[in-house]
Symmetry: C2
Subunit: 305 residues, 2 copies
């Protein structure tokens, strides 16, 4: 799967993914009004608004980008109806040829991680029928429980040609609280990085492994160290834009081949029309604002590569 992502990145010349993390507050009034009119001010109404919002953004950007990263929490908060919008979004993006990175940060003891791997990447046999649930192309995974909690995801990567990104150094302000603590002279995230390399060793396709790492753009010095420690690991890089990471900060996450990282922007793209720079598009044309923000983001990142 990592090769498929790389091919899409090379074709679009855009090492990015658009974070489809809709908040109700991002969705223009005219969409909310239509959905609430049809389904009421209910979870179903919210889910319908999210789906319509996503669809317009995907329609306006799919030809420019290799991948999207829907954050499942933003859908889960609207319960079953929200998760239906998540599933619909995943299917729609895949129908447009986009690689879908499910941002779910799942992780548990072995047998439970196996169920999560099934839910998001694999298949489950019901009677004699093979069924698939959310079926994204990649999934983000939390490593706190250690190897037996991650292994089931790696197994599914191998059997189904899928990929994962394991949290190594996250982009949030307090990520260092545990992740930066020194163990034998090295921060925890470096120990996790070493395990990620080990877990992924059997899943290498070409120059990169199907077991990637989440490395926040907000900590560029750490990104540089991790890049050296994990030459064959693709980085999923959150934190660009709204969270404060700049293109210059990202540079260190890339390898000399210009590959090795896919940079996410959520708010900066999907809520672009609310920023001064794109206000001229207006709420009615929010998706065109997103398209322009994608064009600008690609140029910004390519300027440092």
């Amino acid at each position: 799967m990592i090769q498929k992502l790389i091919e899409k990145i090379q074709k679009t010349k855009a090492p990015i993914c658009v974070g489809l993390d809709p908040m109700l507050s991002y969705i223009p009034e005219h969409i909310l009004k239509r959905s609430f009119g049809e389904f009421g001010e209910t979870l179903a109404g919210a889910a319908d608004a999210i789906w319509n919002f996503n669809k317009e953004i995907v329609d306006a950007t799919w030809d420019l980008i290799p991948s999207v990263k829907p954050q499942i929490a933003m859908y889960e908060q609207f319960g079953i109806e929200g998760l239906r919008a998540y599933e619909k979004t995943v299917r729609y993006c895949q129908s447009k040829g986009l690689i879908v990175i499910g941002d779910a940060k799942r992780g548990d003891i072995g047998s439970t991680s196996a169920a999560y791997a099934t839910a998001h990447l694999g298949s489950v046999t019901v009677g004699s029928t093979v069924c698939r649930a959310f079926d994204t192309d990649f999934l983000t995974v939390n490593p706190y429980l250690g190897t037996d909690g991650v292994k089931p995801f790696v197994d599914v990567c191998r059997s189904e040609n899928k990929g994962i990104f394991v949290l190594v150094k996250t982009s949030n302000p307090s990520s260092g609280e545990f992740q930066d603590q020194l163990i034998d002279g090295k921060p925890l995230y470096e120990h996790v990085a070493a395990k990620v390399v080990e877990w992924g060793a059997d899943t290498i396709e070409g120059a990169y492994s199907n077991v990637g790492a989440v490395v926040g753009a907000t900590y560029p010095e750490m990104g540089a160290i991790l890049r050296r420690l994990m030459p064959h690991t693709y980085f999923l890089v959150p934190g660009y834009g709204a969270q404060g990471g700049t293109a210059q900060d990202l540079k260190a996450c890339f390898n000399k081949d210009g590959l090795g990282a896919v940079v996410n922007s959520s708010r900066g793209i999907i809520a672009a029309y609310r920023k001064d720079a794109y206000a001229k598009f207006g709420a009615e044309h929010f998706a065109e604002a997103s398209r322009q923000a994608v064009v600008d983001m690609i140029a910004d990142i390519n300027s440092v590569l």
Copy 2:
């Protein structure tokens, strides 16, 4: 919410929760046949079987127990239909007066954790309507992202009188890989424990905080240390029974007041009919086997308290 759990524990004299983690392989043939007959060998068929299986177990055990812990991964693997069975199970258990601990191990950056907290413990406003999604009483939470990733859950505990259990020392074989690593001479799980105490300090009801800890029964020495470090923290203790933890191992997780821990058993209860000790009940009477297993588990644990 922790007081409500304690009252239920005192009333039932049973510091336990039943892990409603159904695997299709646990479900007796007659239930599968009925559900597949109605819905086909589909995700909907699997979800219907799970729901019927759960309902019989709850009907056979609710009067003996204070709480249940559905593991959401086991439902998520059947997609939207599976999550509908999760929701139905949560509602049904609550209608029986049971405290429901959603075992979801969620955790992300602040704004995303806020969405998860909304999804599982809180409410979301759609237009001018307040809606609730999964609405469990407690949720398990992963601490790898640090304070800003946990804080939104704590905030919801406070505003909605709910509770969480933060992963401190998990029950799985490789939990030590990162959790046991020494930082300034103390294992990571003790550092997490200190944070759990801090996060929960504002949510104390009576002798205990609404911010609890997950402490595996499979590491009794560590349980004893954590018990001393966290006197006002309730422990959710997985690992009893099928994973190898014994009643003697659990003793250290309790305080001298006989409180402080709620012990989970999943397979040992819900798949009891498949064990030699309960085989006499037969698959048709699997729920009666579960009831007997609950009676035996309560006696076993109370024998060491």
